[in-house]
Amino acid sequence: MREPLETSRVLTYLWSAVLCALALIAAPMSLAQEASELAPAHAELASAESAASEMTQTGGAAEEAPALDSGDTAWMLTATVLVLFMTIPGLSLFYGGMVRSKNILSVLMQCFAITGLMTVLWTVYGYSLAFDTTGMQAGVLSFNSFVGGLDKAFFAGLTLDSLVGTIPESVFATFQMTFAIITPALIVGAFAERMKFSAMLVFMALWFTICYAPMTHMVWSGDGALMWDWGVLDFAGGTVVHINAGVAGLIAALVLGPRRGYGSLIMAPHNLTLTLVGAAMLWVGWFGFNAGSAVSAGASAGMAMLVTQICTGTAALAWMSSEWLSHGKPSLLGIVSGAIAGLVAITPASGMVGPAGALAIGAVAGVLCFLASTKMKRALGYDDSLDVFGVHAVGGVVGAVLTGVFAFPTLGGVWAPGEGATIAGQVWIQTQSVLFTVVYTGVLSYILLKIVDVVIGLRVTHDQEEEGLDLSLHDERGYNL
């Protein structure tokens, strides 16, 4: 694993480049004043991540920290299992079924290898970059507002006794690890069927270090973190996970270029049963993702589960109906895509909105993601093979913005807004976070891809693409029926 060294070098090297981008948006927002105003609102916030990250700081102090709760721990152990379940097998199958049979194994392999790689990187330094809070102070913008230090590298300080909220830190660290695994894996769908396996590994290691860990830190690491101080509402990862991955996917699709014969050759999904199974696994696993983000087994988790289910079902029907109306027939790929769109959109909103909000978000997400993944993609002509952008970025934006609307109790939300918080104000905060994320990850992903392209090349040869990645890169055949 030489990435750590390499990437940390690249890290410092790139920091200048990104700071420009930051200034652009961060400046107006990062007035300690405004931040400290918002802080209280946050203090009340029932968000588990809040509790969570607060605890990471005071984890040791027994008298301050609540004691371990076996019920909360039981749920978080389960939630962690569910989120891992989303990536392998869930996402792997969802994507795998959509490619041509000659590339099925390559997609499964990419998701699986990412799982192993992120597990190691998270252990070595990822957890620390994301959740180390040394040097952070509410409302104060510093280097550590963007990324954590290395004090928690190799889980330093994590003992049997250390808690995060009411659960062992070991569980919290593993739970967050599963998020660090699925986010890069989501990007795979954008460059499927044409990227070199080796280049994929290197890019993912870099992207995890430069884009994922810092984003997690900025949103979830607590007082002093950039977007946390802005007061953004992102319960389970609309910005950190979906917009982040969705934008990176679009950039990757553009940088690599379309698959050979895209638009002329038939590139129909080779096995939609796999896609259905994957989508179903993503759906059930997502309860670990959203309800698990409550980091406890209580009312917040319960409500997160309920709205997740409502939004998903609604979005599935919305996409199905849109397709039925526009094309004349509903399709399986359509309805499952709608479900995923709904899951994506409710991610930042779960734990914040109520049933009514879930219905609304689901309907909007279902229709907009349908338009983005069909009409818009055709119109613009880029080859985002499996619609990472159309579903995750678009769905993530819909969710992030509407969370600012439906989180308010007046609209059935279950969030406790702070003094003087207004829908307009919160929507603005949400929007800023979205813009920031798009620029941040967009710019950096582009740079990273270019670097990898120059150094080892991103794309397989024509013959390899022709023969299929399974045989050409892995010496294996998907089906010998």
């Binding site: 590139m267 129909a268 094309h327 790929l333 895509s337 993944s373 993609k377 619609d387």
Partner: protein, 112 residues
């Protein structure tokens, strides 16, 4: 001897086999093929990507027969496989120079 190759609609296979068996042709070799012709195919749509699939699943039947019954067999196949709808298929006949039964080495008519 003649080697008859018939391209028919898949769901007609059993009837055709029955028909030729009645005439005394005990063996046939069948292949799943894709047919292109006047009959139109169908469309498939995946997330807005529409594909026109021109080919249609057809069944290819190959059977070697004695000259004496070739005519009869061709007729039987046509009668049974006919639905009257476009896409019913074709029957091709070529002269068979030699036929051998692997198991016994018998040749010619005995081989069938």
């Amino acid at each position: 001897m003649k080697l008859i190759t018939a391209i028919i609609k898949p769901f007609k296979l059993d009837e055709v086999r029955q028909a030729v068996a009645d005439i005394g042709v005990q063996g046939v070799t069948v292949t799943e093929v894709q047919g292109f012709g006047r009959q139109r195919g169908h469309a498939e749509l995946y997330r807005g990507a529409e594909y026109r699939i021109d080919f249609l699943p057809k069944t290819r039947i190959e059977l070697a027969v004695d000259d004496s019954i070739a005519e009869q067999v061709v007729e039987a196949i046509c009668n049974v496989a006919r639905t009257g709808k476009i896409g019913d298929g074709k029957v091709f006949v070529v002269d068979l120079a030699q036929a051998v039964r692997v198991r016994t080495g018998e040749t010619g008519v005995e081989a069938m």
